[in-house]
């Protein structure tokens, strides 16, 4: 048996021949500009979006320089204003200088742009060129000037579409990594907010930033995240989902073991709990590690609303999660195995509905659920304007028509709709979609063995959940293993004045704030203005 299963693994990757791209280019630049430009052209296949502008500067020495950048990736305005113009204007100053000195002069005085570095090797040159920097080459020098002119088209900061709140900030992450780090730093104005950048993806060279609050984040977890990120060896990273799948603890699970969000306030809050954020250039979804189960039921708004309301809502969400997993299964089990459980009048009502339906309950349920999934998927893929309308109308029409045609029972339509709505109400999409999938497994179990199947499924589900870990943190902490001190922010959320510790299983620095910060309003009950004038009259 083992050999049969192992056969697929025989082909081992040869690390040296990965993509036909030779990465081992520690070659230095050539001294001749023409050779260099030729090489660049050859390497980039004469790509038309690479702008090479050769110029002669200086009135006497006639130094040939070349300015290179990739169209659209740079801020062309600043190149024009601060680079090319200033090179023209300062042309005279470069007169008496050799190529080397001229370039140094350029770097020091002429280029009035923020970040200027030297590049000596080809791969570094290409990397900065491709990421939107401008390269200045001078004939006769083996170095190039790397001017930071990153820019180009960016989406404006908008309200995140995936996690909407009634109360809370309205900005969301964009596709730009720098914007995203800015959004976080705007919230945490502390030198302890550390950003570690790295590039992952042999072809895409995607910038990935690891963000954490030094002193709050647990070093072990930070190191672990770093280790796993460094270990990634893949050609491309186009979205944070790539990274998520490459660094998660356990792969054979439908549950998300990394949290992703579009909301900077959520990230900031999590960073302050000691988590590590992984920001990937090109996507507004930021990963947070480690993630725990209960986190997926916490909406940011919970922390802004009063604690009693958020507590009630959290209970509701857990209920919702259970409904979305086992509601159809329960219905199938009750109507095909355990009719005695249903109150007599209800069983007669359901039986009356079912009289005309030609399918077994399970087939009926599965049919409706699949239909609903189709509608939902269609609703997502359709252009936004028609999407929601179609899905609602589709559901209504199909539901109504199917009932009238006697193909499904109204009771089943109710169950399916409840499940669907419950699924939409789960705050985390990743968790909701996992519930969607598990639901079908439970339906099958219910159809085969009734409630016995459902309960065995539930036990397995709980065992599975308890066995998961996210960066070493058991997934069900702090519920199982129970950490009584941390239960304040799980099913319930205690008020902020009582939430004075950070989760011990994540953070190394546990004190969030001083103890006993219960609000203590003045005891006066008088009207403020009169009190101001006449003192505390109401105080006896």
């Amino acid at each position: 048996m083992p050999s049969f299963f192992k056969r697929g693994k025989q082909v081992k990757n040869n690390p040296n021949k990965k993509d036909g791209i030779n990465h081992n280019l520690p070659q230095p630049l050539n001294i001749s500009l023409a050779v260099n430009l030729d090489f660049i052209n050859q390497k980039t296949g004469n790509s038309s979006d690479i702008v090479i502008r050769t110029k002669k500067i200086g009135t006497h020495t006639q130094l040939t320089t070349a300015v290179l950048y990739v169209e659209g990736m740079v801020n062309e305005q600043s190149i024009q204003d601060f680079l090319i113009e200033s090179m023209m204007n300062n042309s005279k100053d470069l007169n008496a200088l050799g190529p080397q000195e001229a370039l140094e002069k350029l770097a020091e005085d002429v280029v009035s742009l923020g970040h200027v570095t030297w590049v000596q090797e080809w791969d570094a040159l290409f990397l900065s060129l491709m990421s939107g920097n401008t390269i200045i080459l001078v004939d006769g020098v083996k170095k190039a000037l790397n001017v930071s002119t990153k820019g180009g088209e960016k989406r404006a900061i908008e309200e995140p579409s995936s996690q909407v709140t009634v109360r809370g900030p309205r900005d969301g992450f964009t596709e730009s990594l720098s914007t995203n780090t800015t959004l976080i730093r705007k919230r945490i104005n502390s030198p302890n907010l550390w950003v570690e950048s790295m590039q992952i993806g042999r072809v895409t060279n995607t910038k990935v930033a690891m963000v954490y609050v030094h002193g709050i984040a647990n070093d072990k977890i930070v190191n672990e995240v770093r280790r796993r990120l460094k270990a990634i060896d893949i050609d491309s990273i186009l979205e944070s989902g790539y990274i998520e799948q490459l660094i998660e603890d356990q792969t054979s699970t439908t549950f998300p073991t990394l949290y992703h969000t579009e909301r900077p306030d959520s990230v900031a809050g999590n960073l302050l709990e000691g988590r590590v954020a992984i920001i990937v250039d090109g996507t507004p979804f930021v990963l947070l590690a480690p993630a725990i189960f209960i986190q997926f039921f916490q909406a940011v708004e919970d922390y802004y609303a009063r604690f009693d309301i958020s507590t009630a809502l959290r209970f509701l969400r857990i209920l919702i999660f259970f409904i979305s997993i086992i509601a159809p299964a329960t219905f199938v089990a009750a109507t095909t195995f355990h009719q005695e459980m249903i109150p007599t009048n209800l069983v007669i009502a359901i039986a009356a509905q079912r009289e005309t339906v030609p399918f077994p309950a399970f087939v009926e349920a599965a049919m409706m659920e699949v239909t609903f999934e189709i509608l939902r998927e269609a609703g997502i893929r359709l252009p936004r304007a028609v999407g929601s309308a179609i899905s609602i109308v589709g559901a209504l029409v199909i539901g109504q028509a199917a009932v009238q045609a006697g193909i499904v029972t109204p009771a089943m339509v109710i169950i399916v709709s409840i499940t669907a709505i419950a699924n939409f109400a789960t705050p985390s999409f990743a968790m909701a979609i996992s519930a969607r999938l598990i639901r079908f497994a439970f339906m099958v179990a219910a159809a085969l063995f009734g409630f016995y199947g459902v309960i065995l499924g539930l036990i397995m589900l709980i065992l599975h959940l308890c066995g998961l870990r996210s960066f070493g943190v058991p997934y069900m902490t702090p519920i199982a293993p129970v950490i009584p001190a941390e239960l304040g922010d799980t099913f319930i959320r205690v008020p902020w004045w009582a939430l004075w510790r950070r989760p011990s299983f994540i953070s190394s620095n546990r004190t969030r704030k001083g103890k006993n910060k219960h609000p203590q309003p003045p005891r006066s009950r008088g009207i403020v203005n009169t009190d101001m004038e006449q003192g505390d009259r109401n105080e006896s």
Partner: protein
């Protein structure tokens, strides 16, 4: 990885190869709402099944097919024992018999008198499908078959009607008793507690009760009415308790939730109606010279419901007098019930269990011949505390001014 695959394959194959054993679709079930048990001339059991016709009960929108049919279907099957009958019944029916919602068991008076119910109970008790909370009643003077087949208005399913009658009449009237299968077994097995079951009669032209005509009239042709309590001894029906004695029985059994007591006032019969709203009965026992003496301590609270004679209900003294009269009346009811039961030699009040609890040693001696020897000799002292708490919206009746 391999192991997971193996596990998955194993699990799935076990699941799919073995599933659906006990599965039963709703459309394949005949939901039985009531069972009637008779005995025919040949001494064989006749069981009548009342089967719900779901489409005609629930007013669903897709119920089509013209005229509304009857909400139930009923038929009788003859056989030697209940299990055989249950299996045999499938020849008459297109579906699997489903007993889990049968909450009424009707036993005919004749069967209860001649053979008793001892032999019947086991099949119901043993079957996990049958609920042990199902109520049991006796059909008086009629065959259980006729009873079960009769259609009822308001509550479409006849068994529901009977159960609700039992429940509400016990609560509001206090002369019949809702007894379920489990209670029956407890009573039958305990030597210190006899069994009482409620009786039901059919009034009207019996055959018409089976037609839709019956429920298409404002005044149904055949009605089902609760009437009397059946006293059992050794599992056999021996006598009926009716009227006030039935009330007295419920007083002792502490089952009165609300009832009506009418008292004599200045020689006018049933002059004042007293509505009981709360009742508590405690029964205790003591031994005197080897004979148990029972003390029935009743406490009743309630208000005045109606007054036929001029009486000044403002006066606490009058209220006190009313209370005395009430106590006497209730005492009379209870003593009547006790005498009746002692005559029947069946301890339907559970006095024996009280003796058992208070004096286990004495009980050991009395146990064997409790119903026949000891119980009829038991002295019963009744102590009643009745309280009139309020007298409704008015104090004096309007009659008191009318006569002036």
């Amino acid at each position: 990885m391999n192991r997971k695959t193996v596990f998955l394959i194993l699990f799935l194959s076990v699941a799919f190869l073995s599933g659906c054993y006990s599965q039963k679709e709703l459309t394949d079930l005949a939901i039985i709402s009531a069972l009637g048990i008779d005995k025919n001339e040949n001494g064989r059991y006749v069981v009548t099944f009342q089967i719900v016709n779901p489409g005609n009960v629930a007013g669903g929108q897709q119920v089509s097919g013209g005229a509304q049919g009857p909400p139930i279907t009923a038929f009788s099957v003859t056989g030697d024992n209940l299990v055989e009958i249950s299996r045999k019944a499938t020849t008459r029916l297109s579906r699997k018999m489903y007993y889990a919602h049968a909450n009424l068991l009707v036993i005919s008076e004749k069967l209860a008198k001649t053979e008793g119910i001892l032999k019947l109970i086991d099949a119901f008790d043993r079957d996990p499908e049958f609920r042990n909370t199902a109520s049991i009643v006796i059909s008086r003077d009629v065959k259980a078959a006729d009873f079960v087949k009769t259609l009822t208005p308001v509550d479409k399913i006849p068994s529901n009607k009977v159960i609700k009658t039992l429940k509400f009449s016990e609560q509001r009237w206090g002369r019949i008793l809702d007894v379920n299968l489990q209670d029956v077994m407890k009573s039958l097995i305990s030597p210190g507690k006899g069994l009482v079951l409620s009786g039901f009669r059919l009034f009207g032209d019996r055959p018409l009760g089976k037609t839709m005509q019956n429920i298409q009239q404002t005044n149904p042709l055949v009605t089902i009415r609760a009437d009397g309590l059946a006293v059992f001894k050794d599992g056999k029906l021996v006598d009926w308790i009716e009227g006030k004695n039935a009330g007295g029985t419920l007083w002792i059994l502490n089952k009165i939730k609300a009832t009506d007591v009418d008292i004599l006032w200045k020689k006018e019969k049933d002059a004042i109606s007293y509505q009981v709203t709360r009742q508590q009965t405690k029964v205790s026992a003591s031994m005197k010279k080897g004979v148990p003496v029972m003390l029935v301590d009743v406490r009743a609270e309630g208000g005045i419901g109606a007054v036929k004679v001029p009486v000044n209900l403002n006066s606490p003294n009058v209220i006190l007098a009313v209370e005395r009269a009430l106590e006497k009346e209730i005492q009379k009811e209870i003593q009547g019930a006790v005498q009746h039961a002692q005559k029947d030699k069946s301890d339907i009040f559970g006095f024996g269990e009280v003796v058992h609890r208070t004096d286990p040693a004495a009980w050991k001696k009395l146990k064997h011949d409790w119903n026949d020897a000891a119980f009829p000799k038991v002295k019963v002292k009744v102590k009643v505390d009745a309280f009139v708490r309020r007298s409704g919206l008015r104090n004096k009746p309007f009659l008191s001014n009318f006569e002036k």
